[in-house]
Amino acid sequence: MNFWIIQGLNGLAFGSLLFILASGFSLIFGLMRIVNLSHGAYFMLGAYVGLSAIEAGVNFWIAILIGGGAICILGGVLERFILRRLTGQPLAQVLVTLGIAFIIADTCVWIWTGDPRPVPMPSELTGAFRISHLAFPIYRLFVIGVAFALAATLWFLLERSRLGAMIRAGVDDLPMARAMGIRTSLLFTVVFCLGSALAGAGGVLAGPILSVYPGLDTDMLPLALVVVILGGVGSLLGAFIGSLIIGFIYSYGQALFPDLAYVILFLPMVLVLTLRPTGLFGRQAI
């Protein structure tokens, strides 16, 4: 019984990290039809930037802001100066983001070497949370809390704010949104920056759990893709539920069948693509 609870919480924590990554990816894809294959690299670069900030003596919380902010700026620059030039050519955009992902990944190896680097945990959140004989790291509970708070914030932003109304309008019918006077150009940059910032900050947040290592990007990117395929394009709820499903599958899978944890990931993809190609909560096929 303890095993199931502990692994369930681990799955929830991993799913939370996935959600932070996948929500931005899904937002960008839903609004801009850009498959941002650099998203995993943003996550890793954010973690490395945060790590360096911490090693330079900065507080963990500020490091999250620095990691997120750095990637936010990087994403904004790439969107404005590269992706913007390729509007209407989705294939070209995908290939550019793939190229950028390789450049970032190799640059990270260059700067931070190939060794895995653990990110130190903030001292406030070390230790374990105990109920009777169950113990669970406080930091993971905190990550779960962050993801739920983020989900609520994003929901509020998308469903209840003016910016969210504009984004939804853009997702549903871009030319019409433009005709109604929404500055879609600015909107694209804002959403791309937001998604990038989430990836960067998520990387720092994941650091104490996953460590940072070369290959973190290509470990996380396909999981984010699977989440979006499962949950449906541009759906926040889909990204949330999809992240939790993959988090649980991954966590239980690794504990029960360590060899086969990855094989099991095929299963939800096969089921969803066979039975519901739009994804669980998507309105359009990907």
């Binding site: 070209a92 793939l98 950028i100 390789f102 190799d106 990855y262 190609p277 096929a285």
Partner: protein, 332 residues
């Protein structure tokens, strides 16, 4: 595009160059690189079938290379099968995998297709990496001895080179026949006008799926030869970077041409070997090339690559630009 429209001269030149390769170079090192080029060319040809003729951009093509290579080595070197049985099972099983992957990926089109192929490919990479009891994990799988078909000693680099070249010739012939065939023609129809093809009563899904499986089969053949060449396979073979390199070969050589991928494979393999001799940052270069190709051929990769290729050949074909731009759009 009809086969007869192909310009015969560059094809003959490519083949003459490939045939004469062992006499043109002096050391075994270069003969071995030529073998790598030929194997990569088979893989690129099979991917080009999807991209150039089917308009389906796959980022998971390393799956067939890697799975066939793993199976070949596992079956022959670790499970006690003979070379022929091992090869047949490896290619057969990989083709079955292509059937499954094709079924899943073709639930979507365009960007969705790309995402699914990438995700499936990377999951396979994860399987090879984590399922260490079967695949050897990060250490990879080795121990394969090259076979001696018909008394040929494949340990001799030159004999091995002609052995793989023989397979390339068969691949080119089969793929050319496929493109000319009714199925291949209708595949190009689904690339350019999927709706119209559907309205005409073609089963677009089936056409694309059969082509996907055919492409996976030739990917598996490349994987078999890859296993014989390296006598070793590691998760890196299945990695996204391998798929991306193959994609680059197709794009660089010119999609939708028969022999473009062969030229592209030669460019990428030579570049990779040359660069690796001087610096360790191949991945950065790969990324820069991707970005540069896209940015400096802003009308879409394909027409630009074709135009360059055409200028290089000095031939004048008029039917290509319109056709190629539609590939870029449909792939989108």
């Amino acid at each position: 595009m009809r086969f007869s429209a192909f310009n015969a001269l560059p094809r003959l030149l490519v083949f003459a160059a490939l045939l004469a390769m062992p006499w043109l170079v002096t050391s075994d090192y270069y003969v071995n690189i030529a073998s790598q080029i030929v194997i990569a060319a088979i893989l690129a040809l099979s991917l080009n079938l999807l991209i150039g003729f089917g308009g389906m951009i796959s980022l998971g093509h390393a799956a067939y290379l890697g799975v066939a290579a793993y199976l070949t080595i596992y079956l022959t070197a670790h499970a006690g099968f003979g070379h022929l049985t091992g090869a047949v099972i490896a290619i057969g099983a990989t083709t079955v995998l292509a059937m499954l992957f094709g079924y899943l990926a073709l639930r979507a089109s365009g960007l969705g297709f790309l995402m699914i192929t990438l995700a499936l490919g990377q999951i396979l990479w994860g399987v090879a990496y984590r399922w260490a009891s079967l695949t050897g994990g990060d250490n990879g799988l080795g121990g394969l001895k090259r076979p001696h078909p018909f008394g040929l000693d494949l340990n001799d680099p030159i004999i091995f080179y002609y052995f793989v070249l023989f397979f390339l010739a068969i691949a080119v012939w089969c793929i050319a026949r496929f493109i000319q065939s009714g199925l291949g023609q209708s595949l190009q129809g689904t690339r350019d006008q999927p709706r119209r093809m559907r309205a005409l009563g073609y089963n677009v899904w089936l056409i694309q799926w059969l082509s996907f499986v055919f492409s996976g089969f030739w990917g598996a053949v490349a994987g078999l030869l890859y296993a014989y060449y390296h006598q070793f396979v590691s998760p890196q073979t299945l990695h996204l970077t391998t798929s991306a390199e193959t994609l680059l070969m197709v794009i660089a050589g010119g999609t939708g041409t028969l022999l473009g991928p062969v030229v592209g494979a030669a460019l990428v393999v030579i570049l990779k070997n040359v660069v690796s001799a001087y610096i360790t940052r191949w991945l950065i270069l790969l990324g820069v090339i991707f970005v540069a190709i896209v940015l400096f051929m802003p009308e879409g990769l394909v027409p630009g690559a074709r135009r360059a290729l055409r200028a290089l050949r000095g031939s004048s074909r008029t039917d290509t630009v319109a056709e190629a731009s539609s590939i870029a759009k449909d792939g989108a």
